[in-house]
């Protein structure tokens, strides 16, 4: 008996596909992002090779007798973080404290090293997909470091991969500290972010370091996030500053990052800061 061939008109086919596209569009992003995670997971090897080739094509020849710019920036960020920790310690000594202080010895803190599988950095996005996920103890909100500076936070995690939203992502808002001021920055895309609603009565200058504020359960001490590269009066509102912050590290040149996991559950993997 001949099989009955189902004929579908072009119009019906187009309608079905448009409907499925609309379903994807209105579906929650944590559901649809599983497809993106799955793609990154399945093709992580060729994507990693492609990324390494792209990075190599952009890397310049380094002189043998000087430290590279990247190494210099890394050390500079470390110095800024250590200096800020020292100031925090001095402040704590002034207060009555009977509590255990877990700070620079990183007791109870684990740094989960992760490789970058794909990076999506342009004017509309600032996100990375890394090869660690929930199975490795990652969770939403954890801070991510690159070259000893904060580059973003975990925005979503599958069992084996996770998405990092950079603080330069237009949808990202991060609480920061500039000198003694507490304020917030919002991403502008690519490699900059903007300080929001800061009155000109506060003293701020180009070159000032910007620190991610400590957040209980996620970050024990302020850590450097960037530097002010532009500081002028807002054209729309002369009573406010128009401040641009550039990241402390060049994310596009990173191969791997470190995720700060506070109070990790006992498991294998990660870096023990005591070793």
């Amino acid at each position: 008996m001949a099989r009955k061939r189902i004929k579908v008109s072009n119009r019906m086919l187009l309608t079905w596909f448009i409907l499925s596209g609309l379903i994807f569009l209105i579906a929650p992003q944590n559901l649809t992002s599983r497809f993106q995670f799955a793609f990154a997971n399945i093709f992580r090897w060729p994507l990693g090779i492609g990324r390494n080739i792209s990075l190599s094509a952009r890397t310049q020849q380094q002189l043998a007798d000087v430290v590279s710019r990247r190494e210099y920036d890394k050390l500079q960020n470390h110095l800024a973080n250590v200096t800020e920790e020292l100031l925090e310690k001095h402040k704590k000594l002034d207060r009555v404290s009977g509590l255990r202080n877990r700070m620079s010895e990183f007791e109870g803190v684990e740094f989960m090293l992760a490789e970058i599988i794909t990076a999506s950095i342009d004017d509309a996005h600032g996100e990375l997909i890394i090869n660690r996920g929930r199975d490795d103890g990652l969770a939403e909100g954890q801070f991510v470091l690159g070259d000893n500076s904060v580059i973003g936070t975990i925005s979503d995690a599958s069992p084996r991969t996770a998405r990092v939203r950079l603080f330069t992502d237009p949808a990202s808002k991060t609480e920061v500290k500039i000198r003694e001021l507490k304020t917030m920055i919002q991403g502008l895309g690519r490699d900059s972010s903007k300080v929001q609603l800061l009155s000109i009565k506060h003293k701020v200058e180009v070159g000032d370091d910007v620190y991610a504020r400590k957040k209980p359960g996620f970050l024990d001490a302020p850590m450097k996030i960037g530097t002010i590269t532009r500081c002028k009066t807002d054209e729309g509102n002369p009573l406010l500053w128009d401040i641009t912050v550039k990241p402390a590290c060049d994310v596009e040149k990173l191969n791997d990052v470190a995720v700060i996991i506070m109070n990790p559950a006992p498991r294998s993997g990660g870096v023990d800061p005591k070793n």
Binding site: N10, L13, L14, F17, I18, S20, G21, L22, I23, F24, L25, I26, A27, Q29, T32, S33, F35, Q36, F39, A40, F43, P46, L47, I49, G50, R51, I53, S54, A57, T118, S120, I121, D122, D123, A124, H125, G126, E127, L128, I129, S155, R163, R165, D169, P170, A171, L188, G189, R190
Partner: protein
């Protein structure tokens, strides 16, 4: 239509777009050719309408899947819609000469990107600050490279490409 070859081609181009396209990016806006869009125009021109509709939506799905952080759906709809329109247009006006193919790639790229950004903005995601510059740059770059990439695609898909003189 060799569907297995189509699947392999889309996978390869998707991985290339996600992993290697940055090498050929220009300017500080990271403008690079949209290989998936070039593939879309290729199938819209060289396949029949039914096949072009299917390939357009599949390529749109691939385009959405490589954009980490972006909601899925905008490119499925924009690629599918404009791929279909191009396929119908091709049945009326054949687009065989390279300059016309370049023009088709440019217009299709511009329209699909603009619609995709519009649909993304409906999801509440902010638009980039130089969105039209990036769209124009990507469309222009893709239109320059696209017609030359049709030949290896046609060879793989075993489609005869006749360029009129």
């Amino acid at each position: 239509m060799h569907w297995f070859r189509f699947a392999v081609l889309v996978l390869v181009v998707t991985v290339l777009q996600a992993g290697l396209a940055d090498i050929v990016a220009v300017t500080n806006l990271n403008v690079k050719p949209d290989l998936l869009l070039i593939l879309l125009v290729f199938f819209a021109i060289y396949c029949n309408t039914f096949e072009a509709i299917i390939t357009s939506f599949v390529i749109g799905f691939a385009a959405d899947i490589i954009l980490a952080g972006s909601p899925m759906g905008p490119r499925i709809i924009s690629f599918g819609l404009f791929g279909t329109v191009l396929a119908y247009l091709n049945s009326v006006v054949t687009i065989k000469k390279m300059p016309y193919q370049a023009l088709a790639i440019f217009i299709t790229a511009f329209l699909t990107d603009a619609l995709a950004h519009l649909l993304v903005s409906f999801r509440g995601q902010p638009a980039p600050f130089s969105v039209y510059t990036v769209i124009f740059g990507t469309s222009f770059y893709s239109s320059l490279a696209g017609p030359f990439l049709f030949l290896p695609c046609a060879w793989w898909m075993r489609i005869k490409v006749e360029r009129p003189r």
